[in-house]
Symmetry: C2
Subunit: 547 residues, 2 copies
């Protein structure tokens, strides 16, 4: 017997296996049992597939659901860093078996075996991966981020009306609570985060002790007498120069902490998970490259680089007790969500709200366009890579083989004076085959890195709608009661400063990364064509020497 459920919000399917549903639509569910936050069911049009559990309310459970603050499901699926890779059909596809779902508690590494059982915070979700066209959907009530740690601190002391939409990012991030003065926590000096006024507007104060961190080739580790195996990455931060070993699940845990901790900071997405073939060379190399990019963005962010949980992650050695202690401390951190804003110091002169609004609007247009266009770039360069690895290679191979056929025919000639030419033509054939191989190898050097970069930036771009939403929520609230509450303005200023500082940081990093990557690409391409040229010059010489 199929269960009935009412749809709470519009949902547009973005991956194979998902089905689209509309608000208030009645859908049938095949089972109450969720699989990583998804339910299987049928919509009113008869499409069968996966539905995000948090988007529907099961009708037979209606009353108890309503008591549960409107959340119909105890778990919210977080297919967060899926779907940012464009290469091939394998990426981002959601099999109906559900084996390839990507969540912070996915099937990738065996999470529970050497950690505390109680890790509810590892489920702290990000917004569902938004498609480029829906980065900023018309409806701003998409269920996205939910910070359960906020709820205990919510006091009802509002002089300004509360947001009725409990799913608003503004509410869930803690932005509203902070704005209404409901956030309260003790902030140590070490936790203070400074926004300073730079040449181009507010910016995060530079990290006085910048560092980087290398990630070595992962090694395969086993435990339980070889029954279980996993990959371990050696991380060496430059400020300690001591290597620590971490598994992907540790990155994943850290990621969840950071997302929860910093409502208006774009935490770089981790490279996608993969359920199968995780010990295959290609995957390992791709993940490592992704983690290097991720680490680079972490260490170059003045706020993220310095934060306690990241430092714990980078520096804690093999002492199990110390590790667990730091882990618990991070999970019980009070300065998350709304309280994060308490840690921020702003420049003395408050920002002009009009100007802030215009800047935010500009950035919104920017990110929308950037997201749209990098999708095109990514598709194009991945296509180009595929063509080079197949078509281009094949063409040069075919030409090479045909030259060799010519040489073979010429070898039937009994004239002595023909031998040198035959060898030269045969060598030319080899040269063309080699050039074909060069073409096949090249994309790995100069297109894949661009693609990796674009993937990382698509992650950032997917973060910003929520960040902007928090700032806009604050701005709207302040506009509702102008000049009445000085503190409200101050708090809105804090949120605006933090948002603009983050935007500034995004732009700086973007310019740095894209310049570096384009330069790398061009240098690689130049080297590539020079390699071809010298191969051909080599072939040409064979004709001279045999004249």
């Amino acid at each position: 017997m199929a269960l009935k459920a009412r749809v709470l919000y519009d949902f547009h399917s973005e991956n194979p296996g998902e089905i689209s549903i509309s608000e208030n639509e009645l859908v049938s569910l095949f089972s109450e049992e969720e699989l990583e936050g998804w339910l299987e069911g049928k919509n009113s049009r008869g499409d069968v597939g996966l539905i995000p559990a948090s988007y529907v309310e099961i009708i037979k459970d209606r009353i108890s659901s309503n008591n549960n603050n409107g959340f119909s499901s105890p778990k919210v699926g977080t297919p967060t860093h899926a779907s940012y890779s464009q290469r091939g059909p394998e990426a981002g596809s959601v099999g109906s078996g559900g084996g390839s779902f990507h969540t912070s508690q996915g099937s990738d590494d065996d999470w529970d075996d050497d950690w505390d059982d109680s890790s509810p915070a590892t489920e702290a979700p990000r917004s569902l991966g938004t498609s480029p066209a829906s980065l900023y959907p018309v409806t701003t009530t998409l269920p996205a981020r939910r910070s359960s740690s906020l709820q205990p601190q919510a006091k009802s002391s509002a002089t300004v009306g509360r947001n009725l939409n409990r799913f608003s990012t503004f509410v869930k991030s803690g932005g509203e609570a902070f704005l209404l003065g409901e956030a309260a926590a003790f902030v140590k000096d070490g936790d203070r985060i400074c926004v300073v006024m730079g040449k181009h507007g507010p910016e995060w104060q530079d990290d006085p002790y910048p560092f980087t961190c290398t990630i070595d080739d992962p090694t395969k580790q086993t435990k339980f007498k070889g029954m279980k195996s996993y990959m371990s990455y050696g991380l060496t931060p430059t400020h300690t120069n001591v290597q620590v070993n971490r598994r992907y699940k540790h990155f994943d845990w850290l990621y969840a902490r950071l997302v929860e901790r910093f409502p208006v900071i774009s935490v770089p997405h981790l490279p996608e998970k993969q359920a199968t073939g995780r010990f295959e060379e290609d995957f390992i190399s791709k993940r490592r490259k992704g983690l290097i990019w991720w680490m680079n963005h972490m260490t170059s962010h003045p706020v993220l680089a310095r934060c306690d949980v990241f430092q714990h992650f980078l520096t804690c050695g093999t002492d199990e007790k110390a590790w667990k202690q730091g882990k618990r401390k991070a999970e019980r951190d009070e300065l998350v969500g709304a309280n994060f804003f308490l840690t921020i110091s702003t420049p003395t002169v408050p920002l002009d709200l009009q100007e802030v609004e215009s800047k935010i609007e500009g950035f919104k247009s920017f990110t929308k366009r950037m997201d749209e266009n990098i999708v095109v770039v990514n598709t194009t360069i991945n296509d180009f890579a595929r063509k080079q690895m197949s078509g281009f290679k094949k063409e040069y191979h075919k030409v090479g083989q045909s030259f060799k056929l010519l040489a073979q025919a010429f070898e039937l000639d009994q004239q002595a004076y023909s031998g040198g030419l035959n060898k030269a033509i045969s060598y030319t054939g080899d040269a063309y085959e080699a050039i074909g191989d060069y073409f096949a190898d090249q994309p790995r050097q100069d297109l894949d890195p661009i693609s990796d970069l674009l993937d990382l930036y698509r992650g950032h771009l997917a973060n910003f709608p929520d960040i902007i939403h928090v700032q806009k929520g604050a701005l709207t609230k302040v506009k509702d009661c102008p000049a009445q509450e000085g503190e409200l303005h101050d708090r809105c200023n804090i949120i605006s400063c933090a948002t603009l500082a983050e935007i500034q940081h995004f732009h700086r990093t973007r310019v740095r990364d894209f310049r570096a990557q384009m330069q790398h690409h061009l240098r690689q391409q130049i080297g590539f064509f020079q390699k071809i040229t010298s191969k051909l010059e080599d072939a040409l010489q064979r004709y001279d020497s045999e004249q």
Copy 2:
């Protein structure tokens, strides 16, 4: 009412519009009327299309045909230099309308308007273009060359049996008549052609006064007050340094003379004719390139370069009377066919016939393989050219456009420090588009010339089966009556010397041409990739200057 005809020889269709027929098959003809040597009909399998007239015998005319020496048709079509170009479907296709047949009296130029009406010798045919697989068919009785000028001289004084097959190339070329001592003509010293013994065997004596000849871009000429127009080529041979103007039909006339004149010399095929679009730039340029190749092979052949008719063609100025005089002289030349062999002086020591036979066999295998393999090379490089002009170009354009899209998105950013990067990325996009254009232009520089060369050589390779057939015919005859007739041996030696000299010349020219063309190709390719490299270096600099 359909006429019936009996098929005399196997014919395998090689072009659209033609149908295959087998010896002794009965076919229906739609009309007795020939179109340039072809009849329209239906074979026993029901295929409808064109049949070479000389391959069938119309049944109702049987007796009168037989009286006519077995030739059922007064004209033999000579679709000789068609079908050697591989690029695109337009080349070598034979429309059923017959408008695009290529014969020495084709529809290309209006032949009759300023020449004598009587030019029967312009019909002197070559063998039908043989497909690579059938260069040396098992049956050696393919009707091919017919030298009408031979017949008046045929005397019946044979002590050795005559070849019963009147269609054999051996017979038609005059080889048999010469061998049987039936050739007789006065040979002036100036007509004498020397075969000398070189390092690698018999070879044509070098031309003591070698020359070359340039062919200018053709100019469009009109006559009859603009009613008719034609292309005129300015030829300037280096030994006179005086330009003469010739039309394609003059080349065609010359070609027919040469084929008739030299039974064991491979006269280079003229570039193909084209009925339509003959004033279009591409065609004109292609034909001119073909004529340059042709001229190059003519002037570098010691025998062809020196012969009277070619010299007349190269040196006769605008004096109409002198031109016609030379023309008539050439058409009445006695030293054609069988008599050609009278002009040949051989080295004093006769060749070892066994060795000759083995060399000829080796060359036969060689030409067969070369023909097969250059078909593959030609197809491959033409495919490659097409891919570069379409696919490769498109890919680089797409990448260029996507980089420009990225720059466009980045331009929405209001940060001043981003401007330089945007311009650099946009420039990179332009660079990729330019590289796409380079790829599209390149094949014209380095693949088309190879293709032209291969076309020319396919022509030579199609000539050699007949040449070899003459030599083999002579050898067979001599084997039939060993040591009986010293003169027979001497004459067979002459034929063998001439054949081996021609083979030697072929190899020398081949090695020279392929070496030069491969070098040209590689130099072009090197320049091409260097051009790409400097374009990319240029783009790379934009990033530095804006840092």
